[in-house]
Assembly symmetry: C2
Homo-oligomer: 550 residues x 2
């Protein structure tokens, strides 16, 4: 059987664009392939959220689906694809469905049984679960169908009351077809590969796993579609963070060696894809980034250059009286290396004018903490003024560690259309910087001086981060445990626990308290591209009015 | 049977405080009453969100529950209360449960069957649904139990696959006990009253409906607990937006006349409670509010005075060169009437300094749109500087109409810890202003000049809102339809459709486009206290990277 894997980058609700991509593949491979497999909810793009309830959305999707069905008329290949269908039974209004379509006819329809409603997923908000196992005999072959989460039930820690894979296992299948919209997070490609190989073995049949690719708000789908045979050999290992349309003849295929991949390449590609798609899908061509001379803004600027090209990135250095001369010089070296325009725009005069006006009005100057935040807010405001004037989107540069402990200013350095590094712990930002220099740019694009310098917010005289915060290795380790412990591997928990042990009880209490007290800032943060297992935002929903702080 | 309705204001995760409130009621009424009824998830407070997964949370709740159970030892009264329990079956880790407890023993436990997962509700994220109807014979009486949403299934438009009320109907009950955490939105008290009366009739038994009260982030629970008899007579009509502990003897009770209530009294009480509880539960004692001289800030300041007292409210007038003298005078009159301190803090010098510094750095001045936003951002930043210096929380003043069409500045007038009017359409703000003057203050607390003046952002010369936006009556009507049509009554739809007809197709297209294009601003907005049927925030989840704009 010749199968075409159609791993495409969709835009939510772009029915014309999505349909045209799908029909192009059918036109191209319809006469040579047997089966073309698209991803979950590919007609609408995953995930439409409450657009599903907007009048006209489902009708527009159904019209698009009709066009796609018609395009299969006369083709040799059947197609499998995912879409939203009205629920004809009781319960929620929609089903997350898959159909096998051949020569203009829908032969078989299956409804997703497991609806992820945790982390970033919210499918029970819109969908009712299917109740019928997905098997169908087609051209003499018994096919078994799964939609994304259907494959993920873990019998050791059951989250659902049924296991669609267990229902397929005993069905004597010839092929398992799984359509997916599975966003990437760190190390997930390894887990996913193991999962697919395992299901193929359990069902004693080859398995085709097709994922969507591209950025959608906070999520980035990596693609990396897979085909495994019943013995656990990999027949296809699809491109990561790129569209990939490829025909695989199951009878002719041979096992591939698994590509080893640096995790920082995955993170780099993920963030670049996330930013590129966010801009493309919302209509921004350029971005503007504040360049402090520190590691976070340097890595953000470097990633933006990879996403949009240096001519579409503007960096702005905005020194205050507390900024070191080195900071401006380092920004200049960075921008020279990356061929990015650097605008010099001191905030001194505005800061002074504001402190005078404030003092006159309120009878006393702002507190020293307020003056620190004021510097950050003048910078945020200036970037937004440039954004409003030029149409460039502000990219915010803060990392996960500082977002956790509130070492960031709401409406200041937190300002932006998207927050690129806000799901990377501080040490991960350093690792990414080294990876970028070594393996992507091949030069010291991010100056060593920036990597080596003591981290500082430069908002007060001689201020360095370690005055206010524990050492970053210990802080990161402890935050890993506070924020993501249940999702880490045992060995990760062990390593982080070991490192976090070095923190005193006072430091731990302080970090926990800071984490809780700064929830209000994160509630108003720009969308955070998820990299680790649990990011701030929809992935972690904490009340603001709570007294639980343990 | 003598029943005590315990309508209390809980803080999420404040196990010591919540437990003490509950035990106080048991101590006070345990020897005189037969049954004391508390509300849904009262031990933890509704709704803990992902705190449910935090290590120690459930343990702390269970310890609190044990103390409560012990406190019933030797009491005559049994109690009914709601809490989270571990799910011993398959599926999600928790059940949203209710227990009947008597003399230190748990007699009966029932698990909520319908888990709301729409709008502001997200219970399927954490809970598995119960599958057993809630009936139990106690002291010779057959009780039927419901937890909140269990009562709301509508057989004409079924959202679930079961109807817990239908399961109780045929059980020959003596009493229906319903525990709730039902947040208020406009007109809901009428709907809820009809629902309770109807269930009592369907089950041919009296019904006790106990709700929690108080603010929790964006939601405000109104209390308004109810008792109805089997004939549809109201025996108890609990206080609104206040704690209320009251004993009702079912045998002695007589039907009450239903209180007629001005809807703007409900809205006023709701917003005052929402703000007061937000401050109290997060530890703020004072608020600071920018006073533009317009209707939104005037109403916000008036509500803040009702919530916190005039000495805990600071207003700041921050004129720019485009502000009319009248604006400052009107602010002064407002603050004089409300006995609120008004700080005069012109933004002219800071604005001028920033325009000069920006022009020098970028080679051209900010665009005129950017200069408008700059004024708003300097004001937002100044209020935040005052907040950081003084510990007062900024309350943001924008209304739902301007939030819808983006007639507001991100990080500018949108800055704040909470956004008080952001779920009130512009005309509702005017109605609330008139209600406040007439029925709350009894004086012209909000100067008539503010109510009468042409709305203006005063960010450009001679600017008035109607230059950029359609008339507010038509705009509000159309936005009602775009944002909440499926939740409005038929007559509301008819009225709004009639008014919106006056808009040209161009105006309608413009409004729709503005609504979609400004999603990114709302994603970063301060928490919006929900008043109407669907507010911005968790209640309405729209992707940012979408091309569906119909």
């Amino acid at each position: 059987m010749k199968i075409v894997v159609a791993q495409l980058n969709y835009i939510v609700g772009d029915f014309a664009g999505n349909t045209s991509k799908i029909i192009n593949v059918i036109d191209q491979h319809g006469q040579s392939a047997d089966l073309i497999v698209f991803s979950e909810l590919c007609v609408s793009g995953y995930y439409p959220k409450d657009l599903l309830h907007r009048p006209g959305f489902i009708e527009a999707q159904n019209n698009a689906l009709q066009k796609i069905i018609q395009s299969t008329e006369g083709a040799k290949a059947a197609i499998v694809l995912g879409y939203v269908r009205h629920n004809p039974f009781g319960g929620k209004p929609f089903l997350n469905s898959l159909s096998l379509i051949e020569n203009g006819q829908t032969l078989f329809t299956y409804d997703k049984q497991l609806l992820p409603t945790y982390g970033v997923f919210d499918e029970a908000r819109h969908f009712e679960m299917g109740t019928t196992p997905g098997t169908f005999v087609w051209r003499g072959q018994r096919l078994g169908f799964l939609v994304c989460e259907d494959a993920w039930e873990n019998s050791m820690q059951p989250l659902y009351k049924r296991d669609p894979v267990a229902l397929l296992e005993t069905s004597d299948l010839d092929l398992v077809v799984s359509i997916n919209a599975s966003p990437y997070n760190i190390y997930k490609h390894q887990t996913r590969r193991g999962l697919v190989a395992n299901i193929a073995k359990r069902c004693n049949a080859p398995m085709v796993y097709v994922n969507q690719v591209g950025g959608m708000d906070e999520l980035v789908f990596d693609g990396n579609s897979l085909i495994y045979d019943a013995k656990g050999n990999c027949y296809f290992d699809g491109a990561r963070f790129k569209e990939n349309i490829e025909a695989v003849d199951l009878e002719m295929a041979t096992g591939l060696d698994i590509r080893q991949q640096d995790e920082y390449q995955m993170i780099c590609d993920q963030l670049v894809t996330g930013l590129k798609d966010y801009c493309k899908k919302t209509g921004f061509k350029k971005v503007v980034i504040g360049s402090s001379g520190g590691i976070d803004s340097a890595v953000t600027i470097a990633l933006a250059v990879l996403a949009l090209g240096p001519s579409n990135v503007v960096a702005v250095t905005m020194p205050s009286k507390y900024s070191s001369a080195g900071s401006v010089d380092d920004s200049q070296d960075l921008c020279d290396a990356l061929k990015v325009e650097l605008v010099h725009a001191s905030i001194k005069s505005t800061f002074d004018a504001e402190v005078i006006a404030y003092t006159e009005a309120f009878g006393e100057p702002p507190s020293s903490l307020a003056q620190e935040n004021l510097q950050a807010r003048i910078r945020g405001q200036r970037l937004m003024t440039y954004s409003n004037s030029s149409g460039a989107m502000v990219v915010s540069t803060g990392n996960k560690t500082e977002m956790s402990v509130g070492y960031c200013t709401l409406y200041g350095d937190m300002a932006g259309g998207v927050s690129l590094l806000a799901d990377l712990y501080k040490l991960q930002v350093y690792s990414l910087a080294r990876y970028l220099n070594k393996s992507v740019f091949g030069i010291e694009a991010i100056p060593q001086a920036i990597i080596d310098k003591e981290p500082s917010a430069e908002l007060a005289p001689d201020q360095i981060d370690s005055d206010a915060l524990p050492p970053y290795d210990q802080l990161d380790a402890y935050l890993h445990l506070l924020l993501e412990r249940d999702l880490l591997t045992e060995s990760e928990v062990k390593v982080h626990t070991e490192t976090a042990k070095k923190l005193s009880k006072e430091d731990k209490d302080k970090v926990k308290s800071l984490l809780d007290r700064n929830e209000y800032k994160r509630r108003q943060a720009a969308p955070v591209i998820r990299v680790n297992r649990r990011s701030f935002g929809a992935d972690r929903q904490i009340p603001l009015t709570t007294k639980f702080t343990t």
